[in-house]
Structure formats: C-alpha cells, structure tokens
Symmetry: C2
C-alpha cells in the first residue's frame, strides 16, 4: 500500500457541511471504481459524518473517521483561531499530515484561518519566503495555473521567481503530458514595460529557463490569460486577486446578458429548445465547479481550499485535484524546481 | 455661437485613417441632424481628407481643415516625437486647444505620444501631480467610469484621491441625471484589506464625501465592477490596465465558447434562426465600439484617445463622447471637485 494516496478531508468546512463533503467523496468513488490507490482520513463530527456516509453507502475500505468536537466558523480570525481551534476538524485535518500519514489536506472552511494554521503546522519550505495561493483558470486549449491569487498583497522579484518555480511544478504534476510555459502578468509585452520588480523577475526567469524545466514566455497582458499560449501565469497577490474576481464578474455579466437576450422574445425562447444541448455544453465547459480548488504552494505539505459555497460536485473536483496533485508528485517537483534557483537570488 | 462645441480631430491617427475618421464624423452628423451646436477642426492631409468628405457629402458649415504634412507612426516613441512631430496631425490637433478655439481633441493614433505631447502642450492642472486615463465600462444598469487604466504604474493615496475627484466629475458630465458613487478597487470589501496606500485613500475619500459631490462606497472587489452599485471605480494604472485587459479577454473567451457551442450541431445551428434577433441584441449591448474612447484626465484641456483598430462606428462613439464631455462641462466640474481636496492632502 506504499503508493496509496491519503487525503485528509475537513468534513465540516463550507456551506452544507458535512453533507456536500461526504457526497463529494461518494462522487469520487463512483468515478474511480477501477482504482484502489486512495484513502480518506475524514475529520469532523462523527455522528453527522456516519449519517451521511450511510446515505451514500460508502464502503469502509476507503476511509477512517477522526472525531473532532469543534468547527472553525467563518467569523473566526486567524489570530484567535490559533488559540481556539485545536479541536476543530480543520486544524486536525491539517495536522494529519504531520502526526499521521496523510499526503494532502482539503478544506472548504475559513480561508484566512486555513492559510495561517497550515503555515504554522506544516511550515514553509526553507528557501521560500512567501507561500502563495494558486488556482486553475480555463483557457482555449485546456487550463492555466495562475498565482498568487491573494495570499501576498506585495511581492518582490524573488517571490515571483519562487511562484514561477512552484507554479511550473504544479502544472507538470497536473498535466504530465504537457510542458509548463511561464509568463509574468504585465501591462505590456515589451521588456521595458511595468514595475522594477517585474523587470528584475524577467531577467531572473529568463536565466533560470535554461535548465529546461519550464519555457519562459516573458510578459503577457490580461487579455492573453485565456489564450492558452502560456499556461503558468505569475503575478503578485493583489493583481492576481483583482484579475480573478474581474474575470469571474465579467463571465457572469456576459452570460447573464445572454440569458436576458435569449428570453426576451418568444422566438428566442423557442430557439432555446433547439440549442438546448449546445447551451448545456457551453455552460458545462465554463462551469466554475470544474475549477474549484485553490492550492497553497510553498508549505512542506500541500493544502487545497475548496470554495465554501460550492456543492457536492464542486467538492468532488477539489478531491480529484488533491488526488492528481499527489499522483503527479507535486512536492518532489517543487523541490527539484526550487533547487535551480538556489544561489541565484 | 458662444455655446458651440468645437472638437479638434486628428484625422490621420489609427488604422484606415482618414477614411474611418471622416466617416465617423458623417455618422455623427446624421445622428445629430437636429443640432447645430458643434464644429470640427480637422487636422491632416488636406487632399485625402477632402476626398473622404466628398464621399459623405459633409456640408462645409460644420468643419474647417488644417493641413498637416506628417503623421505620427505607431513606432514613434514619446521622446523622439517631441522633436519630430511638430508638423503632424496629432500635435496640431492638440495644440488647437491652445492656439485656436477647440474645446477638446480626439485622436486614434499612438497612445504614448498622444499622452506625452498632450501633457506638454496642454499642461497638467496645478493641484494634480499625475494625469490619468479613464475609460467607460459596461455594468448591469448603464456604464461605469474606471481609472487609471494604465497611465501611472505606481500611485500614492493623493493620486487616487485626485482620480476619484476627476472621475466623479467625468461621470457627472456624461450622466447628469445620475449621482457619482466612488469605490476603490481592492481584494476585499473590509476596511482592513489591501495596501497601505489604499487604506490611506479610504480615509481621505470618506472625509471628502461630506461635501456631497460624490457618494463614497468604500472598497469593492473585481467581481463588483459590472454590478452597477458603484459607478466610478478607482485604481492605480497597473491594476486598472490588468483588470481591463482581463475583462476584455474573458468576454471574448466566453462569447467565442458560445459561438463554438452554437455551431457544433445542426439543431444548434438551426436554433440561431430563431434566436437571431436576441443574439444580435446581446452582441449590440456588449459591442466594444460603444465604449470606445479613453479620456486623459488631469490636463488643462481634455483629450480623448480612440482605439486605433476601431472602425467608423467606433470612431463615431468617440466623437459623441467628446461632444458629451464638453456639453457636460467637464473642466468646470473637475475644477470644482478638486477645490474640495485643497489643503486636505
């Protein structure tokens, strides 16, 4: 059982917990009937969890429940949580990587607390000064990895280089058949554009790309994020968060406008009958649940944050992401990538 | 003729100039048949311009041509342009505000050169240290004003306060029936979120809003830009440019995905017949030509930059924007708004 992937699940985090979390596990089991290389350490209220597990008839081969008496609320701040949350499902699902054999932790709970407690319990990788939050972003060809999405408001060039090395490792772990192509998000593609920090990071990344573990595509503008030319997009946490939220808002605005137009006349309503499957396909392709799961990179153990408001299917996609991260051997890839940068800073 | 609005047009800037520029004027004339309160000072190659003017039978009552022997190319840098472009249509259309009676300048030419030459010839308003680039952005209710869209990579809190005062003035000039609601773009809506610069700007804007010339909505995240709750969105030029380009890229990505889905099956193709007018309405609502025209704010005279790649209809929307800016008395409104901030910095 050496190659078993052990995922620690915070079953109590997010809306409709533990119902959606356990249903998410059941979807994963259904879609991976032919596999046996995974196991869930489930943290939370044992009674509530067993009730849900019975509903989906999950076989005991695949999980163990660890009872936790408390839940981290959305109102908890990172500072008070360090004192208050030692008995919580979140805390124990993270600590599961240090005291048990879990390879990765998944929670849909309070992001700030998850970040701070993970950092405290799992520790930051020695050569990394700032861990970052990475996400998946759809593009014309497949998916991008984008980071930092909000963990660090201000970043220097060494942070951006670390993000690039870790982002390239994540991309390779998730899409092993493909090559990571790193680009820095900027306000122009010419080398003279942007802040001093970006210009310095450009020079360092160009140099590091000679090791061949990623291709460096230089600067790209925001409209190229979805083009699929580059697939590892690097930026500071402020810009990354604004870009992500702006893209989410724009996608919603455009699809809402479309919905409005398609229901504004009788003929248009009628047309939906004919385009039903096409529109369903369109919706499925951009379904945010498929991109659910932000990855904390830079800690000695990997942690995935699911959207709190997602449903069972969205939570399933986060579980699948955890599985692929460990299957793709993310931590060794990060270690290997970061070794190229040693002494270069 | 005291209330005549005089627009200086660089007829040679952008793709397909002067054809699209003159056709844009002809569209404006057609759509404003009942008005007589405008006049165009047209700068560029007289022979080429007259050829186009004849095509659209534009009556001589509405324009005067000023022959210019050169054109600023896209490759020209701001530094060399100061030496080389004195005979150009762009230079003279800007200078038209200082040596003739033009109220505003419109160009679809080289953005960097337009910005630097405008700043040199028209001068920055005394209390403003950094002029900014403002744009129109669709929202659920109508349109936002967003700035800075890329003129200033780094901004301090006083710059953000100036942008707010000028953006509120622009909003009021363009939408006189509505009230400006200013918000700062951030990575969270709570007052403790974001950079020190943003926190300082928050305090100053809250104080300035007591004069009642704008409502201050505090911080908003990127997904709220299109919600229509706030209508003057303030950010530094780096973040603003990334947000704008990301929104453009996302809108294109979503509509391309839709097109692909709607032509992927025969039934879907058939459905387009029924939804033709609905889809046309959808496309019309988000037509980027309607939002064509970025406004340089902070100079002693207003300058509008049209997209270089737009067509005659897009150029028309920029002309209409110029007309509304002067009709709405932008410069007095800016002066009035900035007066509240005096001594507050």
């Amino acid at each position: 059982m050496d190659n078993q992937i052990i995922i620690a699940i915070d079953a109590m985090g997010g809306e409709n917990a533990p119902s959606k979390n356990i249903e998410g596990i059941s979807i994963f089991l259904k879609r991976n009937r032919n596999k046996k290389d995974f196991f869930f350490n489930i943290y939370g209220d044992e009674t509530l969890i067993i009730k849900e597990i019975k509903k989906y008839k999950i076989t005991t081969n695949f999980y163990k429940i660890f009872h936790c008496s408390t839940v981290v609320s959305d109102e908890e701040t990172p500072l008070t949580a360090i004192k208050n949350s030692k008995d919580s499902s979140m805390w124990n699902s993270i600590n599961s990587q240090t005291i048990f054999n879990s390879n990765i932790t998944l929670s849909a709970g309070n992001t700030g607390v998850l970040f701070v407690v993970s950092r405290m319990l799992l520790k930051t990788i020695n050569s990394v000064s700032k861990p970052a939050l990475a996400g998946l972003w759809p593009n014309k060809k497949n998916m991008n990895v984008v980071l930092d999405l909000g963990a660090n408001v201000e970043c220097d060039e060494n942070n951006l280089v670390d993000f690039s090395e870790m982002g390239a490792a994540l991309y390779k772990a998730l899409f092993p058949q493909d090559s990571p192509k790193v680009a820095l998000l900027n306000i122009g593609s010419e080398q003279i554009k942007g802040t001093e920090t970006l210009k310095k990071a450009y020079v360092k990344l160009k140099d590091l790309s000679k090791y061949g573990h990623f291709q460096f595509d230089g600067f790209i503008e925001g409209n190229k994020i979805t083009s699929g030319e580059s697939n590892v997009i690097i930026t500071d946490g402020f810009t990354g968060n604004v870009a992500l939220k702006t893209a989410e808002g724009t996608a919603k605005f455009v699809t809402d406008s479309l919905k409005y137009s398609l229901t504004s006349t009788l003929a248009a309503k009628f047309s939906i009958l004919f385009s039903y499957f096409a529109l369903k396909k369109f919706k499925a392709r951009l379904d945010p649940r498929k991109f659910n799961g932000a990855i904390f990179l830079g800690l000695k153990g990997p942690v995935v944050k699911s959207h709190g408001a997602t449903d069972a299917l969205g939570f399933y996609y986060s579980i699948d992401l955890c599985y692929r991260i460990i299957k793709g051997d993310l931590m060794s890839k990060i270690k290997n990538n970061l070794s190229h940068g040693n002494g270069k800073k």
